[in-house]
């Protein structure tokens, strides 16, 4: 008998990478009807995500801006089937949907067809509340699905509160600077994708993306849907309301997050790590990281920072690139492993 269970696997859709912007399909599956803020990168992520996936897709969305501001009754922007799920349920929603479709097709109760299943969540829904269900879902190799976390670095929909995705020191409505304490947010941002990759060795694909690099972003989604099994993508999304900047600069701030090395771009496919975009150049020392100051001071949420805070932020970011065993991915220093 084969070691692999006969409960595995049907073929996922084969979605080849778009070879250049001009090859991207013109059809939109996330249309008008939403009421997100001007300059909302997360709304763009939705649009690109489903453009990449195509029409034979079911989308499940956790509570958060991308549900609340997107799907007002009678004005849904979703051209594909869409269903809300609970704040901590992106993993379970994807799993249940994929299991339902799989069982019905196997038993001849539904026409056989590879249908993409995508569940999205915010940083609150994904990095905090839904972590347990996401982790559990990534352990089920027989279901083809993608969980996409759009990370705007706060519980945005409930008025910008600190989450496990919020950066150190940031001003949120739960971590406001005050007369006695300038820094209320004492937690460093959670290293989601590194954690998932390290903790779920059988998961075939995880990646980080940023919609400032739209083509890369879409192609990562296509790969995640094509590879088979459960997959995860973490997207960093500038949020003009929560980050407090002119909506004009969303794209630029996304670029700065990468160029300063604060958010690395990489994918891990069958346990092989590949940096890409400017991150690759940074790792290969072909590009010098911009100072974090250039990024932080563009945003009102860091306006209370004094030089000392910026220095600390810079030092921690430097460590990601100079000390982590896998730069930007695995925060373990070799000396701590006794070398």
């Amino acid at each position: 008998m084969e070691a692999r269970s006969d409960l595995l696997v049907e073929e996922p859709q084969k979605l080849d990478a778009f070879k250049g912007v001009k090859k991207v399909t013109v059809e939109e599956y996330f249309g008008s009807g939403h009421r997100t803020c001007q300059g909302c990168e997360s709304a763009l992520v939705m649009k690109l995500m489903i453009k990449a996936a195509g029409p034979r897709t079911v989308v499940l969305g956790s509570t958060g801006c991308m549900y609340v501001a997107n799907t007002t009754y009678y004005t849904t922007p979703w051209v594909v089937p869409f269903m809300h799920t609970q704040l901590g349920s992106s993993g379970s929603a994807a799993l249940g949907t994929a299991a339902g479709l799989k069982a019905l097709m196997r038993k001849g109760k539904m026409k056989e067809e590879a249908i993409n299943v995508i569940a999205f969540c915010g940083d609150g829904g994904g990095l905090d509340m839904g972590l347990s269900a996401i982790s559990a879902t990534l352990m089920h190799p027989q279901y083809n699905l993608l969980i996409l976390c759009y990370d705007n670095e706060s519980y945005a929909n409930t008025d910008i509160q600190a989450s496990g995705g919020s950066p150190w020191g940031v001003n949120t409505t739960f971590t406001p600077p005050g007369k006695k304490h300038r820094i209320m947010q004492t937690r460093w941002k959670k290293n989601m994708v590194g954690m998932l990759a390290a903790g779920h060795p059988e998961c075939r694909y995880v990646a980080t993306v940023c919609a400032s690099y739209a083509l890369d972003m879409m192609n990562k989604v296509r790969k995640a849907l094509s590879i088979g099994g459960p997959t995860f993508i973490h997207s960093l999304d500038p949020c003009p309301k929560g980050w407090d900047y002119d909506p004009l600069y969303s794209h630029e701030l996304g670029e700065l997050a990468i160029e300063t090395g604060i958010f690395p771009l990489y994918e891990i496919e069958d346990r092989k790590l590949k940096y890409y975009g400017k991150t690759k150049k940074i790792v290969e020392r072909r590009l010098k990281r911009k100072p974090v100051r250039d990024y932080l001071l563009r945003q009102g949420r860091f306006a209370h920072f004094i030089d000392e805070d910026i220095d600390y932020f810079q030092k921690k970011t430097d460590e990601m690139w100079e000390k982590w065993v896998l730069p930007g991915v695995i925060p373990i220093h070799p000396e701590e492993m006794g070398k």
């Binding site: 897709t57 089937p81 019905l104 539904m110």
Partner: protein, 412 residues
């Protein structure tokens, strides 16, 4: 190992059905799930319901059932997974007990709100702390206002039968509401008796495939489910759920009619009356406490006491008219609660206050007692039941109730 052996001995090949089997409440429901050909089932361990999921996993491993079996990492996920599988058209089954059921509470609420016909078993268990696995009904009763149909079972055969009825009623497009089966922890989940397990052909006659129709989530039917409605629409949607719950009563009656015809039973849907003819006083309760109560009633009847018992089978939808028609005949009724509701009117149990409310509009009302007993799985004894009945017989003579709500069998 012991568990496996037990499971093996009870799994029948489909050809071997339509026969009597010595099985527990949990096994009976596992067989009902097999015959209902469920598509997706999710499991998480908690006593006492989880034996059921052990049975189902073995059936799948042995090829007696073809379903996707997902071992969830929490009850919240367990219930969310089946909720979503149901939305894409899968027949689903799930279950829990006590604090596990409460851990899933958010999912329970939205499953009903979304009108998804999830069928669940609750192996009733106390809500620790302090730690207790014994039977109490507060777990399942906590969803009584949310749009879950709730039924309580007395014996193993009924557990099997109601499981089939639950799928049929929940998945009826006139209803589309989830349904939970209350199985008294240990007393029913783990006690065995002979059960008639029918053939697949008969079950298929009774239970048609689940068809989600225009509500199916599928690329061929690209709808948006559960958009943000707020004050614009929510009250209308709540009203629709209310109408569905009201309609479920008729659908349950239809289902019992067909069930009795196809399987040769003689069930009445909502109430079972035991020795109520010419009774002055009757006890009312749900679940397995029917057994000690019936024994006590029979003994007291032998002594010439005019006592009887009424067992409630469906708590939601609550059979208001049937309850009125039945209970108006008696001088005194005593409602037995295996639950508590601190701070409620008269500090009575949940059933007590539901029944009092149902009786309020009768022109002549019986006197009503509330008896709280059997909490934490403590046995409901013949002595305890006799104590209740004696109080009621006294009231039948004096027409006076000294204490509306009495805790029975409690050390002072």
């Amino acid at each position: 190992m012991a568990v496996q052996a037990a499971a093996q001995s009870t799994v029948g090949k489909s050809g071997a059905d339509d026969r009597e089997m010595l099985i527990s409440g949990c096994e009976a429901i596992a067989h009902a799930c097999r015959l209902a050909d469920i598509d997706v089932v999710t499991a998480y361990p908690i006593r006492p319901y989880d034996t059921l999921m052990q049975m189902i996993s073995k059936m799948i491993a042995d090829g007696d059932l073809d379903a996707d079996y997902i071992v969830a990492e929490s009850e919240h996920s367990q219930f969310e997974i089946v909720k979503h599988a149901s939305a894409v058209g899968a027949r689903v089954f799930v279950g829990s007990s006590g604090v596990g059921w409460f851990y899933a509470m958010e999912a329970l609420a939205v499953t009903a709100g979304l009108r998804l016909p999830v069928v669940a078993v609750v192996g009733n268990r106390a809500l620790d702390d302090p730690g207790a696995f014994g039977c109490e009904h507060n777990d399942a009763l906590a969803v009584r206002d949310l749009g879950w149909m709730l039924t309580w079972v007395d014996v193993v055969q009924e557990a099997f039968d109601i499981a089939l009825i639950a799928f049929r009623v929940a998945e009826d497009p006139r209803v589309f509401l989830p349904c939970a089966l209350g199985l008294d922890g240990a007393f029913l989940t783990h006690s065995q008796s002979l059960v008639r397990v029918p053939s697949k052909e008969k079950v298929d006659q009774f239970l048609k495939p689940y068809d989600r129709g225009s509500k199916l989530l599928h690329p061929d039917n690209p709808i948006t489910i559960a958009p943000q409605v707020n004050e614009d629409w929510l009250i209308e949607i709540r009203r629709q759920s209310d109408e569905a719950m009201k309609r479920s009563k008729g659908v349950i009656e239809d289902a019992y009619r067909d069930f009795n015809r196809i399987f040769g039973r003689n069930y009445s849907p909502f109430l079972e009356e035991y020795m109520t003819d010419d009774a002055d006083v009757v006890l009312v309760g749900q679940g397995t406490l029917a057994l000690p109560v019936k024994v006590t009633v029979r003994k007291l009847r032998e002594k010439g006491k005019k006592v009887g018992f009424v067992r409630l089978k469906w708590f939601r939808p609550f059979p208001t008219e049937e309850v009125q028609d039945c209970l108006k005949k008696f001088k005194v009724v005593g409602i037995i609660d295996r639950d508590y509701s601190y701070g409620s009117p008269y500090s009575g149990g949940i059933l007590y206050n539901e029944f009092r409310s149902a009786l309020y509009d009768l022109p002549t009302r019986p006197k009503v007692y509330g008896f709280i007993c059997g909490l934490g799985g403590r046995e409901v004894t013949i002595d305890g039941v006799t104590e209740m009945i004696n109080m009621m017989l006294e009231t039948a003579k004096s027409n006076k109730v000294d204490r509306e709500v009495v805790w029975i069998g409690v050390r002072e």
